[in-house]
Structure formats: C-alpha cells, structure tokens
C-alpha cells in the first residue's frame, strides 16, 4: 500500500482564477421546493443504455418505485421521485446542448408525495461488496460529478484500488451544491466513503481515502473534519489551493499524488478511484435508508435569480419550475446555463428536465457575464498554452481545427482536451476555442465512423460479387451436366432402336408396330420428364393459394398504377417505360 505524505501537494500545468462568485448562493441552507405540476423522467440519465419501461400509462406509482428495469445490456434503472400517475413515453427535448428529443416518461404528481416502503440494507459492512454493488445498481446511483457513469459499473470494474479520492473540490465558479452538501450532510458523506472503502477492499485491505476540498470552503472543511473526528484513521480531508480546474479528475489526481493518468487509460490503471461527494452521499442513502436515487442538490445562481440558493430538486423537474422558484428576472438575451460558467451548456427549452448529472442552473445577466461575440484573429500571444491543464497547444489546435486538418489534430492530441474552457477564458482575441475543438472532435468521430461503415460496405459488396460469381458457375455446371445426360439418353435410345432392328423380318411386321409404338411412347415420356426436370430447377414450383394470389395481384396492380401516374407526371418528352411490365412473378 503506497504512502501518501499528508503535506506534499503537486501542481498541474496552467489553470486560471475566474471570479468565484460563490457568495451568491452559498449562504442559505439547501431548501425544499414545492412539487412541480409535471415531471419528465428521461429513461436514460447516464452513460450507457436505458432500461425497459416496467410501468403502463395510467399506473399510479409511489415515490421510489422503479420505472425501468435493466434489460439485456444492463441499463441503469430510473425511479419515480414522487407519487403520481404515469403517462405514455414521449419524445421530449433532452438535457443536452443539442436538445435533441429523447424518450421521456411523464409523471403527473398527485401532491401526496407518498413513498413506498424502502428496504434498507442492515449491517451493510458484513455484506459482500458484490451484494452492495448490486444494490447500488438497483438504486440507480450514477456519478454525480458530471459524467454520469453508472456507479455500480465503475465499482465492479475496479481492481486493486489503493487510493480512493472523494472529489469535494467544486472548482467551477458559482456552483455551491457540493459545498452546502458537505456543510449540512458531512456524516452522510463520511458514511458513503466508508461504504466505498468496504466495497473496494482487496486482499482484506481497504483503500486509503482522501476527501479533497478547495480552500475557499472553510465551513465545509470544518464540518467534514468534525464529522470525521478521531474514529476514521484511513480517511482524511485534504485542503488544496483554489485554482480552476483542480476538480477535474486528471488534474486532481496529479495534485494529490503527482502521478498522471496514462493516455486512453483510467485512474483505476494506477490504483486510484474517484467519486464525487454527492455520489458518496447517494450511496449512503441507498444503503442505509434503502432510498433509490430520486433527487439531488441543484444550485440556482446568477444575478437574474431573485432567490438564488441551493435546493433539493426531484429528478425530472422541468427547469421552468426552478426558474419560477428562484424567481427569474430575465434580461436581454437571457441565458439559462446548465452547469457552471466555464463548462456549462445553454438550454433553450424551459421544459428541459433536471437529470442525475445536473448540478447547477446559472442565469446570469448580460452585465454579469457578457457574451463574447467579437472573435478577432489569433495574435499568437500564447496565453492559452500557459493555462491549459492538459499541457496542450490550444493555439495550434485552433489553426488546425479551422483548417480541418484531422491528422494534425490527432498528432497534437486533441483527444486529450478536457474542454475545461481555460484557454477560451484567457484568449485576448475572444476566440471560442472550445467550440472549435468540440466541432473538430465531432467531425473526426463522424469521419471515423463513416470510414468504418464504408469499409464494411465494400467488404459486403465484394463478398456479394463473389457469391454471384459462384452461383453463376454452379448454374453453368448444372446446365452442362443436364446437356450431357440428355445426349447420353439420346445415344442410348438410338442404340436401342438399332438393336431392335436385328430381329427377323417376319416378326417385325407383327410385333414391330406395337413394340415400336411402345418404344416411341416411352422415349417421349422420358424426354418430357427430362425437360420438366430442367425447367423445374431454376424456378420454384408454384403452389399459390387463390386468395393470396388475388391479394398479390391487387397489390401489384396498385403499385403499377402508382408508378404509371408518377412516370406520366415526371416525363413528358422522354419515352416512359413501365417498370411493372417486366416484373410478373
């Protein structure tokens, strides 16, 4: 087990200090909100596949009832956050920058907020890690740090974890969800950490746990330390200097351990696992109270809100409800940003639902966060390279992205960009760098997919050509064989006729006509049979039932008429050919 010196911290390359603006929302406790009039529960709120819906439209569901079940590929279930009537699955704008429609299950709350009886896991520490992981899967717990990876999957794939890092850094400005959670529910978080340590144990050793918090959250730090007390010797709270983006997984690992996650690898490859404090809290609630994951802390912040703060929000709540509860006073060109000012995305549809990964709704005024509209040419000042936490060359990436040079982008490691926005933040020419990178990444991905598809199509086409060749040759063989057989039969008949001629002339007259007639008839029959066999081979025997035939004929006639009409419309001058003529089956 590696030793982690409590005092030594490393630094990652770059980083910026945007104005923190935490005081807007962090001074009031997490509040509860009134029930919205409708909830839109997306069937998929995580990375992975969605489950199969297991309730019918019109069913009444209770709070905590599972709405989907895993299905063949193991999708994470979603649960009803409140009691109400389930509607039909509809396509609804997703909580994604594209706002593309995705399947959503609407629930009309009945106001009673009646919960089902939850089955807590008693004496969790005596249960096997596998059982706990299964329970977390059924509770629908996903990573709350932003990506939404199913926690159970992450834990079950982790091997030989020596260090568990609990991410309470919350480096992005404005967001205070984790801050308030740590202040008010430190015990729950610590409990979640101990559960995680139990789950991740290997060879009877539990991994050491570090809860990392930025130094701009002194109350959270003292709350966590107080909750820890003296009892947990292998969990400690580590304070790190405030710097954006210290909370990024790769950057935090580098700060705490000095190691870098290998490219295309995972932290588990170097024995480290990271979870958000919110995830730890959800794990504790799932195990100790049997509560599935149904609600989360969301920060409502930005000067456009008259009532900013944090709130427990039911999953599936439309953003509009939050805008009303926070008393949004919209200004010119009002933006509604899901997430923080550095990495959040805007949404245009106020009915967009809150999902498991939504940690903040930011509604800034135009004066507070002016939109950067004036892109000027790059003056090669190099400030972007100074601040990039992944040690990339954003300037070069920008030139290459504008030139659509995909090879160059791959060589300059565009794939390692974590899209933190530090480069675009400092750019004096106000170039939307991250936007160019996202577009370039999407283009490269699409090109790769198209390339793979066309390769497969080519292989299939060539295989088909081979098959047709093969069938043609076989057919030719058969014809040849049949021709040979025919010739042989003909030769045999002639021979037979010649041998018949050797009988005495007297007998010929009497038996001849009969025999000759018999022989003639036999030969004719044989020939007919051969011909029939030949004719039958390529074509199937027709044994149509009459009604089927009538239907087919009717459909054919319909199609023919349609085609004739279209053809007549399309060409006046050219000769119109009727394709239906050639297709009599």
């Amino acid at each position: 087990m590696s030793q982690h010196n409590p005092v030594k911290l490393w630094r990652f390359h770059g980083g910026v200090h945007p104005p923190e603006r935490k005081e807007l929302a962090n001074s009031t406790a997490i509040r509860s909100l009134p029930l919205p009039t409708v909830l839109y529960i997306p069937l998929r709120q995580h990375i992975g596949v969605s489950g199969n819906v297991c309730v019918k439209p019109g069913d009444r569901v209770l709070r905590g009832q599972a709405l989907t079940e895993p299905g063949v590929y193991g999708g994470l279930p979603v649960h009803a956050p409140t009691s109400g009537i389930v509607g039909e699955v509809i396509e609804h704008p997703s909580n994604h920058p594209s706002q593309l429609p995705e399947p959503v299950l609407p629930i009309s709350p009945d106001g009673q907020h009646e919960a089902m009886s939850f089955q807590a896991l008693t004496d969790a520490m005596s249960l096997s890690p596998l059982k706990l992981i299964q329970h977390l899967h059924n509770s629908g717990v996903a990573g709350l740090g932003g990506a939404g990876f199913p926690t159970a999957q992450k834990l079950s794939q982790a091997r030989n974890i020596e260090l568990l890092i609990i991410n309470g850094v919350e480096c992005e400005p404005y967001i205070v969800s984790d801050d308030r959670l740590m202040r008010e529910h430190a015990e729950g978080i610590i409990r979640g950490v101990t559960l995680l340590q139990h789950i991740l144990q290997h060879e009877q050793q539990q991994p050491e746990a570090i809860i990392a918090v930025e130094d701009n959250k002194p109350e959270a730090i003292s709350a966590l330390r107080a909750a820890l007390g003296e009892t947990h010797s292998n969990i400690r709270v580590q304070v790190i200097p405030t710097l954006y983006p210290s909370g990024g997984e790769k950057q935090l690992i580098q700060i705490l351990t000095g190691k870098q996650v290998p490219v295309r690898g995972y932290p588990a490859d170097i024995g480290i696992l990271m979870q958000n404090v919110g995830t730890a809290f959800a794990i504790a609630a799932a195990v100790d109270k049997g509560e599935p994951f149904m609600e989360r802390v969301v920060t409502l912040t930005g000067e456009a809100f008259q009532q900013p703060g944090t709130a427990w929000v039911l999953l599936g709540t439309p953003i509009q409800h939050l805008l009303e509860c926070g008393e949004l006073n919209p200004s010119e060109q009002q933006r509604i940003i899901v997430g923080g000012p550095m990495m959040g995305y805007t949404v245009a549809d106020p009915l967009t639902p809150i999902i498991k990964t939504t940690n903040c709704i930011l509604a800034p005024t135009a004066v507070e966060l002016p939109a950067a509209e004036n892109e000027s040419p790059c003056i090669r000042c190099g400030m972007c390279e100074q601040v990039c936490p992944a040690s990339l060359l954003p300037q070069q990436l920008q030139w290459l992205a504008k030139a659509k040079d995909h090879e160059g982008l791959a060589k300059h490691n565009l794939a390692d960009c974590i899209e933190c926005g530090a480069c675009a933040y400092v750019c004096p020419s106000e170039i939307p760098l991250v936007h160019y990178y996202r577009k370039a990444k999407a283009e490269m991905r699409e090109e790769r997919i198209e390339q793979q598809k066309s390769e497969i199509a080519r292989l299939r086409f060539e295989a088909r050509q081979e098959r047709l060749e093969r069938e043609k040759i076989e057919r030719q063989e058969r014809h040849k064989k049949a021709a040979e057989a025919r010739e042989k039969a003909l030769a045999a008949r002639e021979k037979q006729a010649a041998s018949d001629d050797t009988t005495p002339a007297a007998d010929k007259g009497a038996s001849d006509p009969i025999k000759a007639a018999l022989a003639r008839a036999k030969a004719k029959r044989a020939l007919q049979q051969e011909q029939q066999q030949e004719a039958q081979q390529p074509a199937p025997a027709a044994t149509d039932i009459d009604p089927q035939k009538a239907r087919v004929a009717a459909a054919i006639a319909r199609a023919k008429a349609k085609r004739e009409a279209m053809a007549a419309e399309a060409s006046n001058a050219a000769k119109t050919e009727q394709p239906g003529d050639n297709n009599e089956s």
């Binding site: 580098q254 060109q333 550095m342 949404v347 003056i379 000042c381 070069q396 004096p428």
Partner: protein, 357 residues
C-alpha cells in the same frame, strides 16, 4: 423572447488585445522620455508621423482586403508596430525615412503575409533592416547624447531638420553634428557607443583606451545607458502586468551577458564586457518589446527560451564580428526564420503521454 444559445465558456477575463497593446505603449513611455531628454525632439516627430501613416496604411490595406476596419484599428497592434519602428531609427532622420519604413512594415511585412497574427517577421525589425540597407547615410546619423555641454537642437531646428534636412538657419545635419561635436568631442567621433568602439578598435586602439572617451559613463554609453534602463523599467512593468512572461527577456539577456563575459575573459582588450552589451543599442528594447512580439516569436515556453537565446547569441556574434555596429534587427529576423523549427521540436508533452509533468 427566447433563451439565448451560446457555447461554453460563458465567462471571459476582460483583457483583450486592445488592453494588452495599450499597456505595451504605456511601458514604452519611460524609454521615450529618456530618448527625448538625451537626444532631443526628433523622436516625437518620428512617432507622430509613424503612427499616423500606420493607421492610414492599415485602413487602406483592410479596405483592399475587404476586412472590417474598426475592430482591427481598435486593437492598437499597428500603433505598437509603428512606435517600435519610430524609436529605433535616428531621431533626426528625414520624414520620408520613417514614412517608407512604416509603409513597408504595415503593407508588405504585415498585410502581404496575411495580416495580424500571420506575419512571419517582426514588422518593425524587417522595416528597420530595409531602411538600414537602403538609406545607410540617414540611418547612421545618430546625434551624441546631451551631456558635457552639448545640447540637442531646439524644437524648431529639430522640426526643420526632420522636414527639410536643414535647420532654420540652413545648416545640414552633418554640419550640426560636426559643429557641436568639435566643440565638446573629438572631431572624428561617431555617435553611438557601439559605433565608436567598433571604429576605434579597427584603428588599433585597445578597449580600455576607447572606454576613456566622454561618450562612456558609469555603466555603459552616456545617455544610452539611461535609455536602456528606462526600457528595462518598462519591461519590468510588463512582466508585473503579466503581458509578457519572463522566458524571453531572461533568456535573451542571460545569453547575451554570458557570451559577453566569456568574450571579456578571453580577450579583455578587444571585447566589451556585459555591461556595455546589455546597456547599449537596442538590447533592452529587444529583450522586452521586440523579441516578445507574440506573433513572430515561438509558441511554447521552452521554444521561447530557445528563440530568445538564439537572438542573444546572434546579437553578440553580429556585433562583434559582423559589419554593423548594432545587430538587434538582424538577430531578430534570423531567429524569426527559425521559429517554425523551434516550434516543431519544443512541443510541450501532453498530460498522460509519459513526458515530464
């Protein structure tokens, strides 16, 4: 109404190119004041004409290229180019010298290569070299500094010299120089300290004898040392404001100083020490204002160090063994040529790819 759609990040630090360039101009002020004090009014006329011509030329070029004019002028980049050129040429050079130089810098070196952010060469230095080679007489007519009883020509005289190459009384610039110089200095003296050292050494005098002249003061050349100190002060201001990073000035001055120290140790009689080199000519100006021009310099920090070290080395080499007394412009242009290769081989190693953290 509908909610506005934008791409992240939604927060930006508020310093644009406009602010950066204006701070650079501010940092040049102490140096300009020093030049005004020691060398007279000429630098003001050069600055005025250069900046006006630059703005007009930039507008014309953008019009021809069908680009928006206001944002380009607003970012002050062409003003900085013009100012750097204006303070580099002799203060009393005729008006057409700075005119031709500015037009060349803006139209040819900047816009013909693609406009802002695309020029390979530093426009001010490329224009300086063009002027030096084309008009050697006017570009080497430096006045001695205002010390020991010598005063620079007055305002009207300077203006007339600038516009007509004659004073109000009809004396040419050469006559003014000889008249004044013969009063306080040896008749054969050439004005800049580096110039003087070069000619004296070529005539067989040792360095220590050369340095006895009144042209030299406590640290280095009289007058010139204060101008360089003033630019050093401006440069430190830029460092403090985080407009530039320490890599280029430190690498340039260290390399130049190192070469100078080695030279002095090797040949104390003929090679000037690092104090002369660092405080003469355009050394400080180059370190903080010219080599740090972001467009023509290398990109990564490692690259910048290499680039600036190359400039420092070339300055020393050309000053000592080359044909021209001051070598900043040539050194910068040669290093500009090497920037693509430097960039290629000094790419920072990306996180996770196994390089040093």
């Amino acid at each position: 109404m509908s909610f506005y759609i934008a791409s992240s990040p939604h927060s930006h630090q508020r310093r644009t190119t406009h602010d950066i360039m204006r701070l650079v101009l501010l940092a040049m002020v102490p140096g300009v004041i020093a030049q005004l004090y020691f060398f007279g009014w000429g630098v003001l006329f050069q600055l005025t004409l250069a900046i006006s011509v630059a703005l007009l030329a930039e507008s014309a070029a953008l019009l021809l290229r069908d680009r928006p004019i206001k944002p380009a002028l607003h970012d002050y980049s062409v003003v900085v180019t013009a100012a750097l050129l204006a303070i580099s040429i002799p203060p009393l050079a005729p008006w057409w010298v700075v005119l031709v130089g500015t037009l060349f810098a803006v139209l040819v070196v900047k816009h013909m290569f693609g406009g802002i952010g695309q020029n390979i060469f530093n426009p001010a230095m490329a224009a300086y070299v063009m002027l030096l080679i084309s008009f050697p007489v006017q570009m080497t007519a430096w006045m001695p500094p205002a010390i020991e009883g010598y005063t620079a020509p007055g305002f009207m005289d300077s203006l007339w010299l600038f516009l007509t190459t004659f004073t109000t009384e009809g004396y040419s610039l050469e006559q003014v120089r000889l008249v004044e110089l013969s009063g306080s200095f040896d008749a054969m003296v050439m004005a800049t300290p580096l110039d003087y050292i070069k000619t004296e050494l070529s005539q067989g005098y040792t360095l220590s004898e050369t340095l006895q002249s009144q042209l030299f003061s406590v640290f280095a050349g009289a007058g010139w040392q204060w101008v360089n100190f003033a630019y050093l002060a401006g440069g430190i201001f830029l460092l403090q404001q985080r407009i530039i990073t320490w890599h280029i000035p430190a690498a340039l001055l260290t390399t130049l100083g190192l070469f100078a120290i080695i030279g002095t140790l090797a040949a104390p009689d003929t090679l000037p020490g690092f104090n002369i080199h660092l405080l003469s000519g355009g050394a400080m100006l180059a370190a903080f204002f010219i080599a740090t021009d972001p467009v023509s310099a290398a990109t990564s920090n490692k690259g910048k160090v290499l680039y600036a070290a190359l400039i420092g080395a070339l300055i020393y080499i050309i000053r000592t063994w080359g044909g021209y007394p001051d070598a900043v412009a040539f050194a910068v242009l040669l290093a500009n040529l090497c920037v693509p290769v430097i960039d290629q081989y000094t790419r920072p190693s990306t996180y996770g790819h196994g390089g040093a953290a």
